[in-house]
Structures are given as C-alpha cells and as structure tokens.
C-alpha cells in the first residue's frame, strides 16, 4: 500500500477505498520498521494518531469529509508547537518544553482533519546543524544514510522521502525547507512571507522565518498550502488577503509563461557541480518543451543577499536565545554556538544597514516580477557526507536559496534527477510575492512531464546506518592577538562566559562578520528606509 502521495490517499479515502485508520496503522508500522536507520522522528504520537484517524474515519463515513487533508497522516518539524506534546527544537535547552497551545498552522492542519504521526528532527532550533552533540541523533538521508539530509528541516525531508509521512511541515529562514527538500529528492515550498502564520513556531528570525509544506509531489504541497494559508491576526507579519485555490492552479499548462533563468547564480556566483548544470539544462529544455519562454537574467551577487540576511537574522536569533546563551552555553550544540555567538560582533548600525539594503533589494526585484512570471535556478545538492560538515561553512559558503528569503516571494525546490550514485538533484522555481500559485503550476507541470516521482529510496528494514563522526574541532581563527582581545571584551560585555572551544568558535566567525558588515557600509540617504518599519495595527 505504501508509500502513497497525499493526493492518491485523499482520492482513495474519498472513494472509501482506503480507511484513515488502516493508512495510519500502516504508516506507524513503516516508521517502526525503518526509522531506526534514519532518525527522522524525535517522537511518534501513535495513540493520538490512531485517535485522530478513528475520528476522521467516523466523520467521513457519516458524510462529513472536510477536504483533501482529512485522514492524511503528517508530521511536524519539532519547532511547531503542539499542545501537551513536547516541542524541543531538537535542543537540550528545551528538552522539557511542553507548549500549552498549538501553533496556528498546526491548528489549521487539525481543523482540516489531518492525523499527527509525530514530531520530526531538526537542526537545533532550525539553525545549527548537522550536529553530533545533541540529545537526539541527526536525521539521515534516505537515499544514502552516510549523507546529510540538508537542513534545517532535516527530519521533514527524510520522513517524506522515505514514506514515513505523507507530508510534513518545515520552516525556511535561509533555505531550511528547500535544502532538505532538494537533498532528499522531494518537493518543498517556502511560501510568500506572511502567507502562513509563524505564530507558535519557534523563532529563528522574526524578519525571515517562513513556515511551509514539504511533500513527495508539488501537487501535495498545493493541497497542504490550501489548508495552511490564511490570515492570523495574532502574527504581526501575517498578510490579510484572499487565499486562492492552489489545487485549481495546477492546470498543467504553462504555455506562454515567461521564465527568467538565473543561470549566472548557479554557474558562476555559487557554482554547482557539472552534474547539476547538466540536470538544469535538461529541466530547462522540459520547460521550453511545455511552451514556456525562457530568458537568462542576472541578480546581485549571492553574497550581498547573504550579508543582508545574516546580519539581521543572527541578531534576531541571538535576541531569542540570549538568556540561555549567557547562562548555560554548554547546553547548546557546538554548531549552533558557532553560528549564534558571533551575533555579539554585529553592531547595531550594521543590522540597521542590512534592513535598509533589504528594502533596496526588494525594489530591485520589482522589474523582474513585471518582466517574468517566475524565475528558475538550481537548487542545493547533491547531499554531502556527514563527516565533511564544518560549522565554519555556514559563514564561508554562498547560498542558492537565501536570495529568495530576502526577496520574500515563494520559492519551490523540486527533484530534477539523480546522480549516478543515486543522490537527488534539484531546481528552484521562484515567484512574485503572493503568486505562489504560479510557482506551483510550473513545478507541477514539470513534474507531470518527467518520471522522477516514480523513484523512491530503497530501504531495508533492520539495516544499520554507518557510525556518525565525532564533533569536529573549531576551525582555527585567522585573527591576531589584538583581535582576540577585542572579542574577549565584547563577549564579557555581553555577559558570556565561554570555555576555550566556545571562544574559538566565536573567533573563527569574526572575520566573516566583519566582511559581511563591510559589504553594506556605504553612504546612504536618510530617506533610505529599512524593510522593517513600525506600523499601527487597526484600532
């Protein structure tokens, strides 16, 4: 019976050909058989799942089917609050945290009748990882368990790819839905900022966090988005606008659509391996064959977007975790520390300049939105092995995904083929703010025209994953004694008491913080406003 897509399961449930209880039992059995080699789940909720499945079955039998998500087993990245169920952020610091209320998006999924299978692994607080020093092991890539899933929605990527959940919730601050979707060979949508509520989702960055669906197909993402999107008056970033019918948008016809190809981004700026370039050429040819009109187009260097995002988002992340970092830094994983501690080196004016630059960048995207219906570029991947990861990569590596967290419009990652060794390759489809429907339409048309969705990871029950590497030592900092002294003073002023390794993690990041800030230090007019401004709500 398994694995199924959401659309297939929904059709069979509607036709009374499949019972939600039967489906949920099969999913729980599959998790039991396979998850010991993937570690996609932090905890399962079998009693709740079966209770919800029985309720769904009874309602559907009584003729009260709520829609396509009714009776569908899904799972949540463990930063989505669940009332009465621990929500840990995969962190020792929140291991006993039990929310009193569901996140707004979780409540919407429940109102739609979905079945909660459990809570999924994540990079620590949707940020640091992969980590080898947390209370739970990192999720592994179902296509090859020696490789990372990508993150931060690591368990969501692994669970959906392995058929351990029909859909999952992820969050995306710099690429955290699209990275694991790409590396695990599934579909993941970062919706337009403000389309989905962030309320009850553990904050990474107030300015850049997006909640979003992850599923085997683009169609499944559309089905999930249909129940997730909508105004939440208690989320200050939530947009109050009508929600279109995303499923109806999947017409399959993209003839005449104008698509800008961000070739320079993946060929020169953040160069991808040759195998990805070849897969992209083939994917572009498919889009042309479907009648889309393609044209190369260039945006700013990826490093500009990365600097703008990091100088704001790291400061916001630090503000969220400031007390914990000051009082018990050793409770956090080292990878999280290697990213977050450096926020003390970001000066207030650099964060403000980053927000001002973001507004300039948003304006720069406007003519692209007028000229093109969507943009495409390569997605992340293929997945590297666990032992190749170093925390300093966060500061060093350019990003194919972060430009679209800054632009804020929808961005979809989807599978466009496989390495000869079997690891997935990906493409991103990027759209105008609140035009998520066109992005889904293009992704769905591509998916229908290709056969990649017919291939699933081959997993053997009882197989043991290879051992994890040890926690890597901090990368030696390329700074002199005077700079170390300065950093020590700043750390003391911030009230941090760091051990030697933690201080080394901080020092290693320092040159990169300065480089990023330097990119944005230039004369500006006082009229250049930041992207985040204060507004009065309705009285």
């Amino acid at each position: 019976m398994l694995p199924l897509t959401i659309a297939e399961a929904a059709r069979r449930i509607a036709a009374r050909d499949l019972s939600p209880v039967e489906l949920t039992r099969a999913m729980l059995a599959r998790i039991e058989a396979l998850d010991s080699q993937l570690h996609a789940y932090i905890r399962t909720t079998p009693d709740l799942a079966l209770r919800q499945a029985r309720a769904a079955e009874a309602e559907i039998a009584a003729g009260r089917r709520r829609g396509p998500m009714h009776g569908i087993p899904i799972a949540l990245k463990d930063i989505f609050s669940t009332a009465g169920i621990p929500t840990t952020g995969h962190s020792r610091t929140a291991i006993d945290h039990v929310p009193a209320e569901d996140a707004h998006t979780v409540a919407r999924l429940q109102d739609a009748g979905s079945v909660l299978l459990g809570k999924l692994a994540t990079h620590e607080f949707a940020h640091g990882g992969p980590s080898f020093d947390l209370p739970w092991p990192p999720a592994r890539n179902p296509w090859n368990t020696a490789h990372v899933t990508g993150g931060s929605s690591s368990g969501s990527g692994a669970a959906v790819a392995a058929g351990l959940a029909l859909g999952a919730m992820g969050s995306d601050t710099g690429g955290s839905i699209r990275n694991p979707a790409a590396l695990c060979g599934i579909a993941g949508l970062k919706p337009t900022y403000g389309l989905l509520s962030r309320r009850g989702v553990w904050t990474n960055s107030f300015s850049y966090d997006h909640a979003g669906p992850m599923a085997w197909t683009v169609e499944d993402c559309a089905l999930m988005l249909g129940v997730l999107a909508g105004h939440d008056p208690l989320d200050p970033a939530s947009a109050d606008r009508p929600v279109p019918d995303y499923q109806a948008a999947l017409a399959g016809d993209i003839r005449g659509l104008r698509i800008g190809v961000l070739r320079d981004l993946y060929e020169c700026d953040v160069p991808v391996p040759a195998v990805v370039r070849e897969a992209m050429e083939a994917a572009l040819q498919v889009l042309r064959g479907l009648g889309a009109m393609l044209e190369d187009v260039t945006i700013r260097p990826a490093a500009d977007y990365y600097a703008v995002k990091v100088l704001t988002a790291e400061a916001e992340l630090y503000a969220v975790h400031e007390q914990g970092l000051r009082e018990r830094p050793g409770k956090f994983g080292e990878d999280f520390l290697g990213r977050s501690l450096a926020a003390i080196l970001i000066r207030a004016e650099d964060t403000i300049q980053a927000q001002r630059e973001r507004r300039v960048m948003l304006a720069e995207f406007a003519p692209l939105y007028r000229r093109y219906d969507a943009l495409v570029t390569a997605g992340p991947g293929p997945a590297p092995r666990f032992e190749s990861w170093r925390t300093i990569h966060f500061w060093q590596k350019g990003s194919l995904t972060t430009p679209f967290n800054v632009s804020g419009g929808p961005a979809l990652a989807q599978c466009i083929g496989f390495m000869p060794e079997g690891l997935p390759l990906s493409m991103q489809v990027v759209g105008r703010p609140f035009d998520d429907a066109t992005v889904l339409r293009i992704g769905h048309a591509y998916e229908q025209a290709t056969s990649w969705r017919a291939r699933r990871p081959a997993l053997t029950p009882g197989a043991m994953p290879p051992p994890l590497p040890t926690v890597p030592d901090p990368t030696p900092a390329e700074i002199g004694p005077a700079e170390r002294d300065r950093i020590a003073v700043v750390a003391r002023r911030a009230g941090l008491r760091l051990n030697e390794r933690q201080f080394e993690l901080l020092c290693a990041a320092a040159p990169y913080v300065e480089q990023m800030a330097g990119r944005l230090r230039r004369p500006r007019l006082f009229t250049d406003e930041p992207a985040s401004i204060f507004r009065f709500g309705a009285s």
């Binding site: 337009t192 900022y193 403000g194 309320r199 009850g200 553990w202 904050t203 107030f206 300015s207 989320d235 200050p236 970033a237 947009a239 606008r241 916001e316 969220v320 007390q323 000066r347 973001r358 948003l362 406007a366 939105y369 007028r370 219906d373 804020g408 419009g409 759209g431 105008r432 703010p433 609140f434 035009d435 300065r486 003073v489 700043v490 003391r492 002023r493 930041p530 992207a531 985040s532 401004i533 204060f534 507004r535």
Partner: protein
C-alpha cells in the same frame, strides 16, 4: 566594575573607529554608564513569541 566599563567603552570606540577628545572622555564615559544602565532595564527573560514592533511587509506583486 568601573574598570571593566571603561575597558568596554574604549573597545567599543575602537571598533567604531571613533576618537573622543581627551577633555570629553569623562563625560562620554558617564554617558556610556547611563547607557549600560538602560540596557540592564531590558535584561529580562522574554518568550520567543514576543515579536518586535516592526515587521517586514511585502507589497502586493506588481501587475504585468
């Protein structure tokens, strides 16, 4: 500790590339102490759900 505060102040000036004239140092250091006192007022635990007053908002997508 006053010594620490003065060291912090000198460090912050150095990072910002600012030189304070000798005859202004004492009054600026005093201002820095006042600033640190203001920061201390905000130094309290805050749940992650406490959002900033300013949130980014995207304009509607431009028409073709």
């Amino acid at each position: 500790m006053p010594e620490d505060l003065e060291l912090d102040f000198q460090s912050a000036l150095r990072v910002a590339g600012i030189t304070v004239p000798e005859d202004r140092t004492a009054i600026m250091l005093d201002a820095y102490r006042s600033y640190r006192a203001l920061v201390a007022i905000l130094d309290e635990p805050m749940p992650y759900a406490e959002e900033p007053a300013a949130a980014p908002r995207l304009a509607a997508s431009p028409r073709r």
